[in-house]
């Protein structure tokens, strides 16, 4: 290190050296805080705008704190805005279903893919991996035709099936990698004791997969809650809209009450932010193992 090679001789220069170092650290901390403020400023702006009354907008500076903690915009959105309420319900139902389906079926499949050496399963794994490369735009129209043919277009069920299906590939990749790191000995012991594969998986392996399952649960929740590309193609009637689709009313800026709009946005943001703050460890872990794709 620099401090070892250039050890200062006299006390005075040593003092200078530590002072310089302190100053550098302080400067660094100031930079860090400024950058962070810059990053969260849009969130700050949406929050203060959502807490201001329309009258206040005209009088106070755009970036100032609201004079009072006014929740009228929020209650207006929640009580009066049907789009918000249907959107929220639809988003909630579809997200829960998508995540539940994925959490049950993907670890089961991954267990087989990781443990069996048979060629059939290797081929299946290959199919999953190839599918990850397919962008949704490429299958959007066939998906629409198929759902229409079975009468599931414009239904939450249709959306849930397609959204869950589209997410399978990446889940398989991540969870299979994880299962391969789980020692086989426990399963072998259970096997000798006469437990069936079914029992072994649910009683022994599934609990061991908890870290990766929670990670995928959170990532899948974010993906399903924030989805736009899939839902916009499938859910086209107003009463089936999810939250991201419901926000499209704000595409025209004229005649929109900015404070209400920001209250609406904040209400869309708050659930995911809470989820993020409570499960940060898992999201970060998931990102490190490559659990996200476009």
């Amino acid at each position: 290190m620099v401090s070892n090679t250039k050890l200062p001789a006299s006390g005075a220069t040593f003092f200078n050296y530590t002072r310089r170092k302190h100053l550098a650290n302080l400067l660094r901390a100031v930079c860090v805080v400024l950058v962070t403020l810059l990053f969260i400023s849009p969130l700050y702006i949406s929050l203060i705008y959502s807490l201001k009354t329309p009258q206040e907008m005209g009088t106070s500076a755009p970036l100032s704190l609201p004079s009072s903690f006014y929740l009228g915009n929020y209650s207006d959105v929640v009580v009066k805005n049907d789009l918000f309420r249907t959107g929220f319900t639809n988003s909630l139902i579809s997200t829960l279903c998508i995540v539940a389906v994925l959490t049950v079926i993907t670890p089961m499949a991954c267990y087989v893919l990781a443990r069996s050496n048979r060629k059939v399963y290797a081929a299946a794994y290959y199919i999953f991996m190839t599918g990850i490369l397919i962008p949704f735009q490429c299958i959007m129209f066939p998906e629409y035709i198929n759902l229409k043919a079975v009468g599931l277009i414009n239904t939450l069920q249709g959306y849930i099936i397609v959204r869950a299906g589209f997410q399978i590939g990446i889940c398989i990749m991540i969870i299979t990698n994880f299962v391969k790191t789980v020692p086989v000995e426990l399963e072998e012991a259970a096997n000798i004791d006469g437990a069936s594969v079914f029992r072994t998986f649910w009683r022994i392996v599934f609990p061991l997969l908890k870290p990766i399952n929670v990670t995928m649960l959170v990532i899948n929740t974010l993906n399903a809650w924030n989805d736009y590309a899939v839902s916009v193609a499938i859910l086209q009637s107003e009463d089936k809209r999810t939250l991201p689709l419901a926000q499209l009313v704000y595409t025209s800026e004229t005649g929109v009450d900015v404070n209400l709009a920001f209250a609406f946005f904040s209400l869309c943001i708050i659930p995911v932010l809470l989820l993020y703050l409570f499960t940060q460890k898992y999201i970060v872990g998931g990102i490190m193992s490559g659990a996200v794709k476009g």
């Binding site: 090679t5 962008p135 735009q137 035709i145 590309a229």
Partner: protein, 289 residues
């Protein structure tokens, strides 16, 4: 004994098949089959209203290759992707270098900087749109970039960069923490400057992180859809910010030229595959270990 063993193996194989079946079947129905259906659709003049369609051969592709609109969309997509990939990575790396060491302040700041990433792109786009028009514009007395033809793409890119930089930062922090400290110490003993250390040690050791970030962001960038739709919807002037995904969506659903849109989707997939392949090859040849 042998019979029992056989019985157990069959039982095992049946359970395995049952375990794999739900995921595989759902995946084949929702991803693989539609993909193969899409190829013949791209040779038809299918529209969404009537279910009848005729085979038109390569006509859709021929029109696409001669279509100015399509190439504008491709150009816009690449312009966006360029801005998006470069700036997300530069900012992500810069912030990662700043926040590399773990301390209470740094950890809190990492959490905050990553926050935009969990918000949906649509919400982020709308928030920014109003920030541009209601805050930025009156504050500096300039029009919102989204309303100016030459700035609209930049305005959209800023939104996406804001959302993804935190993601890049996380990957780079992990990469930086993986660089052995002894390398820097050895370089210091040899009298290397900070800049030399950065380019001779940090950058080569970060190649896997660069590779991960660039390939993922390229794929995201080339698929960009919701930000554009929520901000300019292709405007401010005709096709100024239309991207490939929007071109496809508009043709299939709005213009009711589904066969044509599907052909564009096939070309988009090909572009995506070629670009990802080239990028992974580029980085693989530069990895140091």
């Amino acid at each position: 004994m042998k019979r029992q063993h056989l019985r157990l193996t069959t039982e095992r194989e049946i359970t395995y098949a049952c375990f794999l079946a739900p995921a595989l079947i759902l995946y084949i129905i929702t991803v693989i089959v539609p993909f193969f259906q899409g190829i013949p659709y791209s040779f038809t003049n299918w529209n969404l209203i009537s279910n009848a369609s005729n085979n038109v051969g390569f006509k859709n592709y021929a029109i696409l290759f001669g279509s100015k609109e399509f190439w504008t969309a491709v150009g816009n997509t690449f312009q966006f992707t360029g801005l998006y990939v470069v700036f997300s990575n530069l900012i992500g790396l810069g912030v990662a270098l700043l926040l590399q060491r773990s301390s209470k302040l740094n950890n809190v700041c990492r959490t905050m900087i990553f926050m935009p990433y969990v918000i949906s792109l649509v919400t982020a786009a709308f928030v920014w749109r109003y920030i541009y028009s209601a805050v930025y514009s009156p504050l500096f007395n300039v029009p919102s970039p989204l309303g100016v033809k030459n700035q609209a793409m930049l305005g959209i890119a800023i939104i996406s960069v804001w959302r993804t930089s935190g993601y890049c930062m996380l990957i780079y922090i992990a990469g930086l923490q993986g660089v052995p400290q002894e390398y820097y110490e050895a370089a210091s003993v040899e009298g290397a400057s900070a800049i030399q250390k950065f380019f001779k040690i940090t950058v080569p050791m970060l190649i896997p992180s660069f590779s991960a970030n660039v390939s993922l962001l390229l794929a995201w960038g080339l698929k960009v859809f919701e930000v554009v739709r929520a901000t300019t919807n292709g405007g401010p002037t005709r096709n100024a910010t239309t991207t490939m995904s929007m071109f496809i969506y508009n043709n299939i659903f709005a213009n009711s030229k589904a066969g044509y849109g599907q052909a564009a989707a096939i070309i988009m997939t090909a572009i995506l595959l070629i670009v990802s392949f080239m990028v992974s090859k580029f980085f693989r040849s530069r990895e140091v270990y």
